[in-house]
């Protein structure tokens, strides 16, 4: 039956296979195209600065000297701050939604979470500029620096200007929080009831069930959520542009203005030419490679966790 069906429509079938393969190839072609295009346009910068480009924080358009260190450093620092804030917070919120909240509250909050994820990044940026920067400058940064006397630490030194790595990281944390949280919530929901009920049955508390059952069962899915947030944070442009301070430097202080790769590109493309433009393309290439490495690392890690824990989600 099956074979005769196949035989009859073999032409249509072949066409279908070709069509789907063709469409799938577009993805690979696009990816390779992006990579080659970026590589081609960054050749002048690669020739002029070589490997030094990665480690130099120079950024002087008047003398045509460029380096990626400031932008790469800013990207990594803001992403790290964002993850440090967003991951534990998402975990707690997701646990509350799945384990503790009454169903009606969980539904309302769940919808709010999905809505938060849908807010365009430019809105976060404007909010950061209008609301968060004055709060940071007038309250948070003076509190950390002067009231807590942490000024002597290099991370919190310098005058509070409102913008900078810390403010950028905070905005990023808010932006990736709904994504991480939504995925974690779904992961926790998929933990089989039977396992949890068994744990309660032998006298476990909610805390014990959360950390010993839900957390371990959903570890793989949670890592996936973290990498999703990480991927979004690394490439975020518009929100950071308004709060990071846009200074291509490497500063120890989290209060100091910095920049990220994406923000540098957005700021400078319109007016750039020659070696300046080529350096921007090389920055784009670096961003693409970072994103690629994150993907590979995520995949490897997931494989390892899967082997170790066996099964799971």
């Amino acid at each position: 039956m099956k074979s005769s069906f196949k035989h009859k429509s073999s032409k249509a079938e072949a066409l279908f296979v070709k069509l789907t393969t063709g469409c799938a190839i577009i993805i690979i072609a696009l990816m390779a195209g992006f990579f080659l295009q970026l590589l081609w346009h960054s050749l002048p910068a690669l020739k002029a600065f070589g490997v030094q480009f990665l480690f130099s924080a120079a950024w002087d358009p008047v003398r045509d000297l460029y380096g990626a260190a400031g932008a790469v450093y800013g990207t990594l620092v803001t992403t790290l701050i964002a993850l440090c804030i967003a991951v534990p917070l998402s975990f707690i919120i997701a646990l509350f939604l799945v384990e503790l909240a009454p169903p009606w509250l969980a539904t309302v909050m769940g919808h709010a979470l999905d809505l938060l994820a849908a807010i365009p990044s430019i809105i976060y940026g404007m909010w950061g500029l209008f609301i968060l920067i004055p709060i940071m400058q007038n309250y948070v940064q003076p509190f950390i620096g002067s009231t807590l006397h942490l000024k002597c630490l290099p991370f919190f030194s310098g005058e509070p200007s409102g913008s900078g790595y810390l403010t950028g990281g905070l905005i990023l944390a808010l932006m990736i929080l709904p994504f991480i949280c939504a995925v974690m919530r779904d992961v926790f929901k998929m933990v089989p009831r039977v396992v949890k009920e068994a744990a309660y049955g032998i006298g476990c508390t909610t805390t014990e069930v959360s950390f010993k059952i839900t957390l371990r069962y959903g570890l793989q899915g949670m890592l996936g959520a973290v990498f999703l947030g990480l991927g979004r944070a690394v490439g975020e442009t518009m929100a950071l542009l308004y709060v990071i301070g846009n200074a291509p430097e490497v500063s120890k202080s989290l209060f100091a203005p910095g920049t990220t790769i994406a923000a540098t590109l957005a700021n400078n493309f319109a007016e750039a030419d020659g070696l300046f433009k080529s350096s921007l393309f090389e920055l784009g290439l670096i961003l693409l490679i970072i994103t690629f490495l994150i993907q590979v690392a995520a995949q490897l890690w997931l494989n390892r966790v899967r082997e170790k824990s066996g099964g799971g989600l």
Binding site: D60, Y242, A270
Partner: protein, 340 residues
Amino acid sequence: MLKVKSLLTAVAATAAGLAAFTADALTINGAGASFPAPVYKVWTYNYQKATSTVINYQSVGSGAGIAQIKAGTVNFGASDSPLKSEDLEKAGLIQFPMLMGGVVPVVNVSGIKNNQLKLSGEVLADIFLGKIKNWNDPQIAALNTGVALPDQAITVVHRSDGSGTSWIFTDYMSKASKSWQEGPGRGTAVKWPVGVGGQKNPGVALNVKKMKGAIGYVEYTYAVEAKLTMVQLQNKDGQFVAPTQESFQSAGANADWKNAPGLYMELNNQPGANSWPITGVTYILIHKEQKDAEIAKEMLNYFAWCYKSGAASARKMDYVPMPDNVISLVQNLWLQIKNK
């Protein structure tokens, strides 16, 4: 039913009317500087009303404007930093000035009112170099006897994007201060020694407004619109002047246009007791050899209209139109334009 029918007829009639309207209307495309963009928007709107010619102006930035006219994707380009005559020759372009305008330092210092604070070029450059860090610095106090200066840290705000406004501002500081010239120098984007970057004119204005102790620079219109605190600057003649339409005009009046090859002119730090020291000229760039005679003719008509009928609206928006002697120089230059 009848209603629907009459509605449809009306829509069809309007569509036909629009089609007829756009059929004989020429479209001219321009792109470039954002510094004069507010005026260009008003001009294109009024010109379209008067003649039905459509002028599209994209305010994408001076650098992009130059790149696009060189590539031939637009009919005219606009730039705040003039091209040198050899560059013009190489690209087959001519350039002429369209408007003049002032760039003003704006501050947010506790207790300081509009046009109260006095600064000199050297002090301004030292602030932007990060050498002067506090508003009660003796160098600032020396220029402001009798003004109560607060003990407040200075936060410098500059443009984060490449910009013609930055070119005008850094060109001024290079002329006024040796250490700025040898340090960051002048350009649409430079290596700013200190400070945070704001997006375009509105971004800088907002940052200055929100950050206590901030100093930045914006095109004059933006400072007026955002009600920012401006400062007086010491000009080449040693006088302190406030930014006004008259002080911009005075800077333009003293310039020697006749002896400027390719009409290349830098209006910063011009002589004259009333001259505002940070004044810029914004330029139009067109190809010497025009592909389409009709468009070329209409484009020159438009620019002639801008000089003549656009002056009033430019003045209303605090820009300075070109004086008559410069306009006649420009119109002589237009005689060089040929059709292919």
